[in-house]
Symmetry: D2
Subunit: 387 residues, 4 copies
Amino acid sequence: MIESSKLSSSQGVLRYGMVGGGAGAFIGDVHRKTAAFDGKCALAAGAFSRDFDVTKQTGIELGLDEDRLYPDFAAMAEKEAAREDGIDFAVIAAPNYIHFEAAKAFLESGIHVVCEKPFTFTLEQAIDLKRIAENKGLLLCVMYSYSGYPMLRQARAMARAGEIGEVLMVMGEYPQDWLIEVIEGEQRQAAWRTDQAMAGVSNCTGDIGSHIENTAAFVTGLKIKRLLARLDIVGQGRTLDTNSAVLLEYESGATGMYWSSQVAIGNDNALTLRVYGTKGSIEWEQEYPNVLRFTRAGEPTRTLNRGHGYLHPAAASRLPSGHSEGYHEAFANIYSRFADALLKLQSGEALTAEELDFPNADDGIEGVKFIHACVESSKKDSQWVEL
Amino acid sequence: MIESSKLSSSQGVLRYGMVGGGAGAFIGDVHRKTAAFDGKCALAAGAFSRDFDVTKQTGIELGLDEDRLYPDFAAMAEKEAAREDGIDFAVIAAPNYIHFEAAKAFLESGIHVVCEKPFTFTLEQAIDLKRIAENKGLLLCVMYSYSGYPMLRQARAMARAGEIGEVLMVMGEYPQDWLIEVIEGEQRQAAWRTDQAMAGVSNCTGDIGSHIENTAAFVTGLKIKRLLARLDIVGQGRTLDTNSAVLLEYESGATGMYWSSQVAIGNDNALTLRVYGTKGSIEWEQEYPNVLRFTRAGEPTRTLNRGHGYLHPAAASRLPSGHSEGYHEAFANIYSRFADALLKLQSGEALTAEELDFPNADDGIEGVKFIHACVESSKKDSQWVEL
Amino acid sequence: MIESSKLSSSQGVLRYGMVGGGAGAFIGDVHRKTAAFDGKCALAAGAFSRDFDVTKQTGIELGLDEDRLYPDFAAMAEKEAAREDGIDFAVIAAPNYIHFEAAKAFLESGIHVVCEKPFTFTLEQAIDLKRIAENKGLLLCVMYSYSGYPMLRQARAMARAGEIGEVLMVMGEYPQDWLIEVIEGEQRQAAWRTDQAMAGVSNCTGDIGSHIENTAAFVTGLKIKRLLARLDIVGQGRTLDTNSAVLLEYESGATGMYWSSQVAIGNDNALTLRVYGTKGSIEWEQEYPNVLRFTRAGEPTRTLNRGHGYLHPAAASRLPSGHSEGYHEAFANIYSRFADALLKLQSGEALTAEELDFPNADDGIEGVKFIHACVESSKKDSQWVEL
Amino acid sequence: MIESSKLSSSQGVLRYGMVGGGAGAFIGDVHRKTAAFDGKCALAAGAFSRDFDVTKQTGIELGLDEDRLYPDFAAMAEKEAAREDGIDFAVIAAPNYIHFEAAKAFLESGIHVVCEKPFTFTLEQAIDLKRIAENKGLLLCVMYSYSGYPMLRQARAMARAGEIGEVLMVMGEYPQDWLIEVIEGEQRQAAWRTDQAMAGVSNCTGDIGSHIENTAAFVTGLKIKRLLARLDIVGQGRTLDTNSAVLLEYESGATGMYWSSQVAIGNDNALTLRVYGTKGSIEWEQEYPNVLRFTRAGEPTRTLNRGHGYLHPAAASRLPSGHSEGYHEAFANIYSRFADALLKLQSGEALTAEELDFPNADDGIEGVKFIHACVESSKKDSQWVEL
């Protein structure tokens, strides 16, 4: 059970600090906009860049006090922990290689953490962070953002309620095309993701294959028993995978195929999950997140739309049907649940499992396992690897 | 030319007050979330409801100071105008019948205005507001929110650049189905829209037909020369239209058909605009706002995606392609442009036409004309009415 | 009641002769392929062209006996009627201006008729043909081919069974773009359709608007009470409409909008019918004929697929679901029903109404009425015209 | 080089006999309708069933002479070869286990052959048939029908012309759901396909996985170097695969993933091929065969439509764009090319490679190799198998 380790925030608004997310970073801005979306979280501190000047400039633009801008996460963790009005949680939106050290520093300082995925470089690191958080009674959210989409939550509710029967096959794919040219020289996002020192053992599988893994697990609850993978590198001079094909066997006996790619021309972020069961199937696409296709055996396919009365309460959303919600709202949904849990925790109340409904260290751990198993199998010429 | 009538806001963040948008109101919350989206506007005052208790409760939940919660818009306009730290602009997100009086009160108090559509009950009122704003050098934004969608801005840029040639036909439609049952008794949104005293001369044409009119004008720049309409009332006991069919002739000689409906089962907010020209065509759907279909004569249809490098600068957006933006971002785009213009105006600089790129009183006036012409034609058994 | 006027065909295969359909004609070849599709009809005679040499060449290529190739329809009607093994029916697949005279000649010679649409130039002609056929006990099929599509028949079965409740609105459209350039000089299909002498009072409304009219009537059974129309001519030097906008009021009180165009870039044969009722709606597209969208109020849209067990028997088709059927099969379905009826008639049995389930003179008459009413309304500056 | 072994047919119409295709058989009827579609082939003989009574009944319904109905293929081959007016070619549309013996019998009797896929049980048999046909100068067509779709031919033309650059990945899938219930007891199509004695070593991979293999090879020309597979059996009591996952490495270094399934609810015949290259990509779906999606790197996706002037001559088709062609026309296209080749061969002329543009023994051989490699890999726990 998790208990509060901190005094409650003033006025029910949580203060947070951010690691990464300097000017020009895409995901940092998404975190800031969406943490603020429901008025539950306010940015109070930052170590936005390895370059302190960038941090200061970003912080000023964002209206932060200068004394809460830090040269690095270690300083932020130490100083904020010491303040009366210190941050309630830290958001780690920096390249992968920073995740472990930064998360550890905040957790050890008694500060809750929201961390980008993939969680850590090694499984040991991931388990370590989970252990620290548990020992300290701290919340640890790993930002698998797609689990915030209402219609994916609808898919989960339906799958868990048995509406498609027992799962037989899981087909997941996440094609992109932004690395079809070797743009690492000019493009920051590409530069760190294709660099082992910053991204870890994998690029494509780690960055987007892990989203398939999490999305499939989120919806079906299936545990991977073993997998085999073939990771390919497309692009002169690269050392990490840009295309990844995986066959899976789940503990239940169901099977799966996951394909992720950064070199599939014509695709942006075309994450698609299709789950086939003994009674029905569901299909969801990240690029058209407001709809979910559902087919019962022998019946016409139904297209479910976000915002309708026929949906499960878990698919609750902000806008009426027919007005698109997207990526920002998915993030905001996770921040909203995280903030609700943290505010309740701070108020001294115990949290139920349902109130801890955001992606957490366990999801992070599964992700790290998945990535390493894929890399290992590919190195062994696609032999099966047990998880 | 518009000049500043007010001291500049502290720290570049504009303060605004809201009329309407009490707890349970859909559009008020959208205004608040999206005005705040880019950190340029902060809510500072409110008259959220005709019931002052509701206003106070809403205001407290939103963290406002109690002395900036008002029983009505008139009080807000008077008191805020008198404060050193008074609001920079007012957002009018209340039912139609309040628009004119409220907008007038704020403008006359020297406060800029963002007003929901349809603008006013009568054309005279609309012209009156425009005149007051101009005389006082105040900004007046009429919230035709769909014009904030990046791909609709792309459509405009392409149409204006001649990529589809001279426009021949405009096909616009906006079907919904939420009024297929007579729910006015229980549902607030339905109650005021179907009530002449609160909605004006039209329900369907005024509420959503006007969106077609504005969207078509926004993209094509065409002026309506004359139109004929058939407005129908579906639903026992109703007195305002719920289905609206319009034929149009533009000044250029192009023709159009607009269909709006609140009783077309299977549709949520399916605004679709198709513009056919002598060289090509464009098609955009509000429910799938991230794509735009474009066809040149004799060539395959191209599906343009938000976020890509091949788009016009006017289609700039926040997220990379493949991560959906939606309704909130469209609103936020308009607030962002409005705020930029207002901040510049407050700094004492003159604004260029390009910097006034948000829907304004002229759009509001065209909308009122359109609604009245439709109602008049329908009453005359669908005779042509000149605009 | 219709009785046989002819001896039965040998071996259950009907012989037919064709008017029009010389080399290069698109629709003649479709008639030949699809009349033969189920082995029930065999081509035996032809007057394929005004140019007898073309007829002879076409006939030889098709393996016909030379003595059954005729310089014109009149000769064919006379000679075939006199033969022991004369044709059972005639197919009139020539430009509109020939329909009346040719159909009359065959009917008066005691030969059944399949005629292309639009049926005749004038309403009097249409009624005349109907009367002759009835008096002689002959079958008269007017080839509204789209009514042969299985999923449109499913739509009819559902609408007639009350699955969408009482019809409120009918939205029909048929955009094409093949006449966006003035190609009449080089293209035969364009040449006769844009020529009043050959096409009659209308091009666009007559050629494709009439398909909307028939499709809507086929599915809903609604009778048009009155309509208003605006017909426009796009294209230098043209005298007949290429774009047609129609508002309709049906006898039941339902309303409709029909749009047809030959100058809407990006469209081939995009006939779409949407019918909205008090309980549900259906939507069908000619270019994707194997699916039908159906929505019940408050439920997700269902996509029904041809070939499935959940369909009405009326939607019976040849191929399993998932293997596309198209235009040829739609034609073949009509020929198949026409041939079944004719064979039964020849066997001396009386036909039930259900066995006469192909488009007939009444459909042709409604089509002629519709075209004339549209032209008349447009001439009167879009006044309502009663049907 | 292939030379004629037979006298030319009368009037340019080829006579053929059919093995299999008795009443109730789906594919036999498709062969008959589509062989006849262009008037180039006429059914003249049949051994439609193992039950001679069924053959006789079917033959009479089809209007065949009784003396050309045979108790088995052996009798047909012998007797027809001896007739002056004997069949030009035989169509083998019977279950897999009959393919080899029947094809052999006809070829050895000097009769050309069109054989359903998968070609034979063993690779040796497939090679044997190819050898016999070559020695005798006979045409041997293996009916991979999807290669007859015009837009798949367009895909091939584009891929071969380098429009997508060098192929990187091939994603093929063919999900169905008709075997989700164990219907073998009542359904003939299911009964033989799930029976090793009649279907061979595989059900799903052999029946539909082989279509992916052929379609991918047809479009890309890539040769498979090695593959690994996981074949699963869903359904109580079954002994052959109903779900099949395959990873592939081509000789060029490209990689692929093929998924076929007969238990994926919501799918009918959803064969989809996506080919990703260094410059662009193409995507085609069998259920929507009239369109092809094509994307060049950095450009919007183009949707190419059958029948348009911008297509490659190889994509020639019968109907104008916007009138669907489907499965029947795809078959008919192959029959048409086969018939043209055979007629020319019979006229004594030599055939060019381009005139032999129908799926042949080599395609059949590749299919058999593919099926066996998949089965072998799956038995070896998904190890790579070289082809």
